[in-house]
Symmetry: C2
Subunit: 232 residues, 2 copies
C-alpha cells in the first residue's frame, strides 16, 4: 500500500463525516507511516507521545515491568486508534502481532491541528473513552477475578471485537500467543493453558490449531466471566 492509500484509510475510518481541506492537508503533512513485520516495535525510543492508526494488521501495547515481567495493556486491530505514551512510570512498547500498516502522528501536532476540527476531536475523544472503558474492565479482571473468569472474560470480549458467527457459534482467530494472552490477563502461559483445557472439557469452547477458537455457549461464558446478566 502506498502512503496516500493509507492516509485515505485513516481518513475514512476516523473521519467518516469528512473534514475541511486545510485541516486534512495539515494532518497529512505531519502524518508518517510505516509497515511493521511481526514482532517489530516501531516506536521504541521515539521520545514523544504518538497517536497511531492501525491501517492493517494487529498490535499489542506492552508495559515493561522488569526483565521477564511484562503486562499487555491492550490489543489493537485494523481500524483502531492507539495512544502510545513516550514515558510514564513504566516503558511502553507498541508491538506488531503480525505484519502491519501503521499511520502515526506526534500527539502534540495532531491535537494542535485537530483544534480546527471539533468533529475530529470528538471522534478521537469517543474512541479514547472506549479505550478507557476497556482499560477499566481490564482492571476489574486483573484485580478481582480468578484465572477462569479472566479467560472467559477475555474470550467473550475478543469475540465481540473480532469474532464472527458460524453455525450458531461464534468463531474467532486469536493471533496472539498464549504468552501474550497470559501477559494480558496477568497469568502465566501454564495457567492460561490449563484454563483453556477446563473450558474445552466443559464444552464451552472448541479449538483447532493454535489460534482458531469456537465459542459454543456465550451465555455460559458470560456467566463464568462474572459479567452482569443482561436483561432480555
Amino acid at each position: 500500500m502506498t502512503f496516500p492509500d493509507l492516509f485515505d484509510e485513516f481518513r475514512t475510518a476516523v473521519l467518516p463525516g469528512g473534514a475541511s481541506d486545510p485541516t486534512l492537508s495539515n494532518l497529512e503533512s505531519v502524518a508518517r507511516y510505516t509497515s511493521a513485520r511481526e514482532g517489530d516495535a516501531p516506536f521504541n525510543g521515539i521520545g514523544v507521545d504518538q497517536i497511531v492508526f492501525i491501517a492493517g494488521g494487529s498490535t499489542k501495547l506492552v508495559a515493561h515491568v522488569s526483565q521477564g515481567r511484562e503486562q499487555v495493556v491492550a490489543f489493537h486491530f485494523r481500524g483502531d486508534l492507539v495512544s502510545v505514551p513516550a514515558s510514564a512510570a513504566h516503558a511502553y512498547t507498541l508491538c506488531a502481532l503480525e505484519d502491519c500498516e501503521l499511520v502515526f502522528f506526534p500527539a502534540d501536532d495532531f491535537l494542535q491541528i485537530a483544534q480546527q476540527e471539533p468533529h475530529l476531536v470528538i471522534t478521537i475523544l469517543e474512541r479514547t473513552l472506549r479505550s478507557l472503558a476497556r482499560s477499566r474492565e481490564k482492571s476489574v479482571a486483573l484485580g478481582r477475578k480468578t484465572a477462569e473468569e479472566r479467560l472467559a472474560s477475555f474470550l467473550v470480549t475478543m469475540a465481540e471485537r473480532i469474532g464472527w458467527s458460524r453455525d450458531g457459534a461464534v468463531e474467532l482467530d486469536l493471533i496472539m500467543s498464549r504468552r501474550d494472552i497470559g501477559d494480558s490477563l496477568g497469568l502465566t502461559i501454564e495457567t492460561v493453558s490449563r484454563q483453556l483445557s477446563e473450558l474445552r472439557n466443559a464444552c464451552l469452547i472448541e479449538t483447532s490449531g493454535r489460534s482458531r477458537f469456537r465459542l459454543l455457549d456465550l451465555p455460559s461464558l458470560h456467566r463464568r466471566a462474572g459479567h452482569l446478566e443482561l436483561a432480555g
Copy 2:
C-alpha cells in the same frame, strides 16, 4: 455553595482559556449539581453516561463484580473530571469518600454542545488521555506486581496527586479506608495492613492516625514500586 458558584468552579478549572457565551449558557442549561454525603452514590441507576466534575470533596469509582467483590477503578479529587458509564460488563458506582460538591452533565448533551468549542473538547480529551494513562498503570500494577510493589506504587502516585512537601518529606492525607485501598489494588485489607507495616519497619513511611502518611524516602519507594529509574 450555590449552583452558579459551582458552575464557575467548573468553568475556571476546565476552561481556563474561556469559551464563547452561547456555549457556556448551553452547557449551564444541561448542567446539574448535587452535594453528596460521605458514602453516597448519587448516580446509581441513572441510566445514561455522565460526565462529572468534582467541585469539592473526593470520590471513588467502583465496579461491582459479585457480592463482596469490588474493584475501585479510580479515585478522584477536587478539580477532577470523571466519566461515569451507565453500564458495561459490570455495574459502576461513583461513591463519595467525603462530603462532595458535584457538577454533572449527561455525556451525550455535553459532547453535543462541546462540538461548538474545540478548545473545550481538547481539554476533555487531554484529561481523558491522562485517565487512560493512569488506568493503564493500574493494569500493570494489578497484573504484574506483588503486594509490596502495589502499595509503594499507590503511595507515590497518590503523593504526586494530593501530597505536599514538609521537612524534606512528602505528606499526604489518604481519606479512603484500608478497604478502599485494598479494593483499588486488588488486595485484602489484611494484606494492605501487613505491607504498610513492612514499609514502616523499613523506615520508608511514617503514619499518624489512620489517614496521615509521611513518605520519607521517595526514591526507595519508587524502586520498591518497580518504577522506571528516572535519569538525572
